[in-house]
């Protein structure tokens, strides 16, 4: 006869989730791309010690992003990648690249500097521009991740079709990327589900969240429940717009859910508080402009550019961002922010003249 004490109750083991930390890539936006080599080294060291497996290091707009349009890097990307590779004992270093901005040549340089994960990003309906880059990354022996930016702009079925293009091109994981922090719960889960239904076991699915409407972590949990096995975070939420899902909160939340992440919560908290906080001039937060980004579905990286253009031309940043959303501009079109600021300024001048009775 079996007694109760004989029965070994085994907690069903939950699938683990891999957290890729993007403090040194998406966070680069919040730092106006001014990370120093020392800062990169200390953040990589802290992340590595806390057990983060993959650390992304690149200009916020990816390889080749250093420019008039997106802001010049203080230190060359490739130098920062090499420093990160040198500093990391266990973690692997990832780089982001956007076809149309970065090229295969940039990818090869990053690989030569020791980067081993290539994350290739396109607008969510333009996946076919990434084929040559996935092919090159695979030939270099890099792990490959596809990034479908502004995923809220595509229907779940459209997104699945685009994910398939990336998988067929060589992506080993495809991310649903909420670049605008615009997805509310079900929006994220349905898209992740639809992509998983399409690609099945051919590749993993990931989720990249922003906090513009404070949904980053909740959406990440829903993505996991739908079957995503990779998520992105950033220490202290350091990222574009109101920032990313904070790595330390993801680690704590998944631990409470019994989902292994490999990340030590206390170490991640210490990294955020003691390493990152002192070096950040301005911590991303939900303010009028970043909330408008989530609300109007605007690419999060546009925030600081809109603030600068707003200051230069004397128009409110949130008004510029609202207009950017209405025009349907996509990631990379930072130049259109100045264009819109000029338009608004001109309209105001005309309005002032009209008010003064000038015809």
């Amino acid at each position: 006869m079996t007694t109760v004490s004989d029965i070994v109750v085994e907690e069903p083991t939950k699938d683990s989730i891999r957290i890729t930390d993007s403090t040194l890539r998406d966070g680069s936006h919040a730092m106006a791309h001014r990370f120093s080599e020392e800062q990169v080294r200390s953040i990589v060291h802290a992340l590595d010690m806390s057990g983060v497996e993959v650390i992304e290091v690149t200009h916020g707009d990816g390889l080749g992003g250093s420019s008039f349009n997106y802001g010049f890097s203080l230190v060359d990307d490739i130098k920062l990648v090499a420093a990160a590779v040198d500093e990391a004992k266990r973690a692997r270093i990832a780089v982001l690249m956007l076809p149309g901005l970065g090229t295969v040549r940039d990818l090869k340089q990053a690989h030569a500097a020791g980067a081993s994960v290539a994350r290739i990003a396109t607008h969510c309906t333009e996946a076919d521009v990434s084929r040559q880059h996935f092919k090159a990354a695979r030939e270099l022996g890099m792990e490959t991740v596809g990034f479908l930016m502004l995923s809220h702009r595509a229907t779940p079925s459209k997104l699945a079709e685009q994910a398939r293009i990336m998988v067929d091109a060589g992506a080993e994981c495809v991310y649903v990327v909420d670049s605008a922090g615009a997805m509310i719960l079900g929006d994220a889960q349905e898209r992740v589900q639809s992509v998983i239904n399409e690609i099945g076991r051919d590749a993993q699915v990931g989720f990249h969240g922003h906090q513009n409407l404070s949904m980053g972590v909740a959406n990440s949990v829903l993505a996991y429940q739908a079957g995503a096995r990779q998520v992105d975070g950033a220490l202290l939420a350091l990222g574009a717009g109101a920032g990313n899902s904070p790595t330390e909160v993801l680690a704590a939340t998944f631990e409470k859910l019994g989902v292994p992440t490999g990340v030590d919560v206390q170490a991640a908290l210490a990294a955020a508080e003691e390493i990152v906080r002192p070096m950040v001039p301005r911590i991303p937060r939900m303010d009028r402009s970043s909330i408008v980004q989530g609300y109007a579905g605007v690419y999060s990286s546009f925030l600081l550019h809109a603030e600068r253009a707003g200051e230069r031309y004397g128009v409110p940043a949130h008004e510029i961002l609202q207009r950017v959303g209405a025009a349907g501009y996509v990631g990379g079109q930072e130049d259109m922010i100045i264009d819109i600021a000029l338009q608004i300024a001109q309209e105001r001048d005309m309005g002032d003249l009209a008010a003064a009775g000038v015809r």
């Binding site: 420019s67 010049f72 309906t125 521009v129 996509v330 990379g332 264009d339 000029l342």
Partner: protein, 300 residues
């Protein structure tokens, strides 16, 4: 006046739009449209426009008793690499709209004058045709250490060739910004935007300029150049006056001028939003026109 004769090789969207433009030319007469598919819609369209067609490729064209003075190639880099030496051997001037880049890069208002008798010229890229005139307008007044261009086009106007090799766009355009635009260093960025209704092609040009320089002279040079491009692309316009920004340390102590352009196509065959396709066919037609004028002028 005698017109120069021409053939267009490649009856796709670009070839068809180019045909429409050249049929309005006073100096060029398109006699042949050449393809490789007897069922090609483009060949049928050309026949409807009164042009002799063949689906037997360049072999057929070169076997004719009468050869064209000019050939416009709108196929692929691969095809043009094979065809270019044959055109040259036959004494036909080739205007290459593919990325093959065998001959010198040509942008009509910038450097066509020195290349008008070249046996093969290359039309760079759509973004190059839209932005290099502005880089040149600035570099003709002050030294431009660095120029950067951002071309935004409608997703609908980006064909499979562009999508399969988008690096070719960025690398070719960057090089041409240096070689033709005369910036010491060039960078090109292309963005595809799927918004509906489709967005009209937009281009932004950023040039580094010396901390102290004559802004009025630069602005005047830009306005003058825009007028010269408008001679063959009427929908080429400035969205705002050139914007000058003060020197910054991160810009190596340079100042910056930013120029915001819109390129509305003529809508000859392609939709008007596809200003990117229009500007390259319009530039090619312009090159053909002036090459023809040089030829007929020389023999007159």
């Amino acid at each position: 006046m005698t017109k120069a004769t021409a053939a267009i090789v490649g009856p796709g969207n670009i070839g068809t739009d180019l045909l429409a433009k050249l049929q309005a030319s006073e100096n060029v007469e398109v006699r042949w449209m050449i393809g490789v598919d007897p069922e090609s819609d483009g060949l049928a369209r050309a026949r409807a426009r009164g042009v002799e067609t063949s689906h037997e490729g360049v072999d057929w064209l070169l076997a004719q008793d009468e050869l064209p003075d000019l050939v416009f190639e709108a196929t692929s880099a691969y095809a043009h690499r094979a065809n270019a030496p044959r055109f040259e051997e036959a004494g036909i001037q080739a205007i290459d709209l593919t990325p093959a880049a065998i001959g010198p890069f040509v942008c009509p208002p910038v450097n066509l004058d020195v290349n008008v008798s070249a046996m093969n010229v290359n039309m760079i890229t759509c973004g190059g045709q839209a932005t290099i005139p502005i880089v040149s307008a600035v570099s003709s007044i002050v030294p431009v250490e660095y120029a950067e261009i951002v071309a935004s086009i409608s997703s609908r106007s980006a064909g499979p060739g562009t999508r399969a090799n988008i690096d070719e766009f960025t690398e070719t355009t960057s090089r041409a910004i240096e070689v033709v635009g005369k910036a010491t260093r060039g960078k090109a960025i292309i963005i595809l935007n799927p918004v509906e209704p489709p967005m009209i092609m937009r281009d932004t040009v950023f040039c580094s300029i010396p901390a102290d320089c004559d802004h009025d002279a630069i602005a005047a040079s830009i306005h003058d150049m825009v007028a010269r491009v408008q001679e063959y692309v009427p929908g080429y316009t400035l969205r705002a006056d050139p914007q000058f920004d003060d020197p910054r340390e991160i810009w190596n102590g340079h100042a910056r001028v930013a120029v915001f352009l819109e390129v509305l196509g003529a809508g000859d065959y392609l939709p008007t939003y596809a200003g990117n396709l229009d500007i390259i066919t319009a530039a090619a037609a312009r090159v053909g026109d002036l090459m023809a004028l040089a030829k007929t002028g020389a023999t007159a």
